[in-house]
Subunit: 352 residues, 2 copies
C-alpha cells in the first residue's frame, strides 16, 4: 500500500493533476464537467487516495490543526474539556495537537512556539494566567485563541467557562441556609481568573447574605492542589478563629482541607461543612461525599472548539470576542450539614 498521490489519481482518470484537484475539491468542482468529476472521484476511491495534509497546508496556509494547551492532563478537570473539544474538532476535519505544560511557563512557551512552527491554525488554551504575556504575543502574531476554564485580563479573547460567580453564590447560600454564619474561603491562586473571581464572588455573596467581614475570611492557596489546600486549611486552624464551614476554591483544595480538618480532630460535616468546586469524578463517592459545584466541562470544551472555528472562518475581521459563561449546579452531598449549635473551635475529639 504505497502512498498514492494526487498525480496517481490524475493519471488513472486521465486528467491533469490540477484538474483532479479541482474535481476533488467541493467548492471548485463547478469548474469541472460532471463526467470528469465522476471519473476522478471514482479513481480516487479505487486507489484509496488520501490527500497529503502537509502539502495542502503548505500551499494553502491552513493546516486544520488546533493546539490544545492544558496545564496537567492528569488533573481530572481537563480530560472532559479536551474530549468535548476533540470531538467537535475532529468531526469538522480538524486534528488536535495536545500539549501538557506541566505548569511550567518556560516549557509552555516552547511548546506553543513549536506548535506555531507546525502551523496550527489556532489554540484552545486552558492555562491562561491573569496577565499573560504569552497571550498578548499570540494576539500580536494574529493567531486565533480561545480561552477556556480560565479567563485573562482585558477581556480581549473569546472565552468559555463555568459561571464561577453563580457557583460560589449557590454554595454560600446553601451554607447560610444550613445556619452557618462563619465561613472561610480557601481561594485558589490569585494569578488565575478562577482564583480571583471565586474569591470576589465569595465576598460579594457573604455580604449579600448578611455575613460580616470578620466572619467571611479568605485564605489563599498557592495552587489548586491537595497539598496547598491542606496547608491553607492548617493555617486557618492555627489562627484559632472559629468557623463552621469552608468554601474551597476547587475540589482538590477541598480534599486537602478535609485532611487537615480530620487531622485536627474535626469531623465533617458534624463540626465543619465543606463545599468544593468542579465535581471531579468520584468525589461523590468519597467519605463524606463532597458537596460541590458541577460544571458542564465537556460542553465547555465543545463550545470552545465551536468558538475557535468560527473565529478561524472569520479570517481576521472579527467582532468583539464572545464570552460565554455556562450555568452551574450545586450538587448537595454529605459534606455539608446544619451548623453545629456552638462553633466547636476547640472540641478536639482527636482521632487515635
Amino acid at each position: 500500500m504505497a502512498k498514492v498521490k494526487l498525480a496517481d489519481v490524475a493519471r488513472a482518470a486521465e486528467v491533469h493533476p490540477g484538474t483532479a484537484s479541482r474535481a476533488l475539491n467541493p467548492d471548485q468542482r463547478g469548474q469541472v464537467s460532471a463526467e470528469t468529476v465522476d471519473r476522478v472521484v471514482r479513481a480516487a476511491q479505487r486507489l484509496g487516495y488520501v490527500p497529503n495534509a502537509q502539502a495542502r497546508a503548505l500551499r494553502t496556509a491552513r493546516s486544520h490543526l488546533v493546539g490544545i494547551v492544558v496545564p496537567d492532563i492528569t488533573n481530572p478537570l481537563f480530560p472532559p474539556i479536551v474530549r468535548g473539544a476533540e470531538h467537535v474538532l475532529t468531526s469538522a476535519g480538524y486534528t488536535v495537537l495536545l500539549t501538557d505544560t506541566d505548569n511550567d511557563r518556560e516549557r509552555e512557551r516552547r511548546q506553543i512556539e513549536s506548535l506555531l512552527g507546525r502551523g496550527v491554525d489556532g489554540f484552545i488554551i486552558a492555562t491562561a494566567l491573569w496577565d499573560d504575556p504569552l497571550l498578548t504575543d499570540l494576539a500580536e502574531a494574529g493567531v486565533p485563541v480561545v480561552l477556556t476554564n480560565r479567563s485573562a485580563s482585558g477581556g480581549r479573547w473569546p472565552y468559555v467557562a463555568g459561571d464561577d460567580q453563580a457557583g460560589v453564590r449557590l454554595s454560600v447560600q446553601h451554607l447560610v441556609g444550613l445556619g452557618h454564619r462563619s465561613i472561610v474561603h480557601l481561594a485558589g491562586p490569585q494569578n488565575v481568573s478562577t482564583g480571583r473571581d471565586r474569591a470576589r464572588a465569595f465576598r460579594a455573596a457573604a455580604k449579600e447574605f448578611g455575613i460580616g467581614n470578620g466572619d467571611a475570611r479568605v485564605s489563599v492557596c498557592l495552587s489548586y492542589s491537595e497539598a496547598h489546600g491542606r496547608t491553607a486549611m492548617e493555617k486557618v486552624l492555627a489562627a484559632r478563629t472559629p468557623f463552621t464551614a469552608v468554601v474551597a476554591g476547587n475540589d482538590l483544595i477541598a480534599l486537602g482541607a478535609l485532611d487537615a480538618l480530620s487531622d485536627a480532630g474535626y469531623a465533617c460535616p458534624e463540626d465543619v461543612s465543606v463545599v468544593g468546586f468542579n465535581d471531579m469524578p468520584f468525589v461523590g463517592r468519597l467519605q463524606p461525599a463532597l458537596t460541590t459545584v458541577r460544571l458542564p466541562l465537556q460542553r465547555m470544551g465543545a463550545l470552545a472548539a465551536d468558538l475557535l472555528m468560527t473565529e478561524l472562518d472569520a479570517e481576521g475581521r472579527q467582532d468583539a470576542p464572545t464570552r460565554t459563561l455556562l450555568g452551574v449546579d450545586l450538587v448537595v452531598r454529605g459534606s455539608t450539614a446544619a451548623a453545629p449549635k456552638r462553633s466547636r473551635s476547640r472540641s478536639r475529639s482527636r482521632r487515635t
Copy 2:
C-alpha cells in the same frame, strides 16, 4: 511578527538558503565553515526564525508527529499514560496528536486514516483489540506502532504494559492469606488483552493457591465500566453461590461491584472483600478505600514513547519487537479484610 522564513535568514546572513539550511541542521553543519554557521545561527536567533514544519516534513517525509490513540481520555487510566508519553516525545522534538476514539471502531478507523494523511510517523495505541484488523492494516502499510496498556494477538507489535499476571496473582495471594477460599473474578471484556490475561491469571493463581474450580468463578463484564461491573456482580449475586471475595478486572468494575454489593445488603469488607486494578486517582479516598493493583502508568507512557522513537530511528530493519511488562504493586487498603467465619451468603442486613 510576520513569519520569517529560511530565505529571510539566508539573506540576513548573506548566504544561499541551502547553506543556511545546512548551517542550522546539526548533522549537516560539518559542511559549512564555523564562521558561516555562527553568522547564520546568529541571524536566525535575531529574526526569531522558526522553521516551517510542514515544508520540512513534505521534503523529508518525516513529520515528527506521533498519534496517540486512546478510547476515552476521560477514563483516569489514560491521562497519566498520555502525559508520560507526551513529555518524552515533546522533549525529543516530536508533537503529539491526540485522538479519543470513544470506543467506536468506525470512528477510530477514520481518525487513524486522517492522522495518516497528516503524515504521522507512528502511533501509540492504547485501544487495541485482541484481534484488530486496524493493526494489521497499519503493519502492512509499514507504519510503526507501539501498543500500550493492551496487547494484541500474534505478539507482532512492540508493547509496554503492566504485569497483569503478577498483579492478579498478588491479589489472589493477598485474599487467600486473609482466609478467603471462595473468590469470584469479574473479568473485563474478553476481546482485549487485559481482560483475557487477567482472567487467565486468575484461574492460574487460584489453582496455585489451592482453590478449586468451583470456588474460583469468573464472570465477564461487557466493558470496563461501573455499569457493567455492577450488572456482572448482580448476576453473580443472583446465582446465590456463596463467595467472600471479588477480584475485579479494574477499579471501575470494582466500584460497580461495590454498588451492587451494597444494594444487596453486603458490607465491604466485613462480608465481602474487593480488590480492584489500576489504582485510579482517589480510589484510596473512597469508603472503603479500595485495595488495588498499582501500575506505573506514567512510566508506561514514557516507555512506549521511547520504544516508538527507537523504532522510528530503526527505519524498517528492526529486530523482534520489544515487549515490556512493568512491575506492579498491590496497594492494600480498607476494602479487603479477613474472610468472615462463615460465608454469609444470605446474611442480609439490608440498609434502609
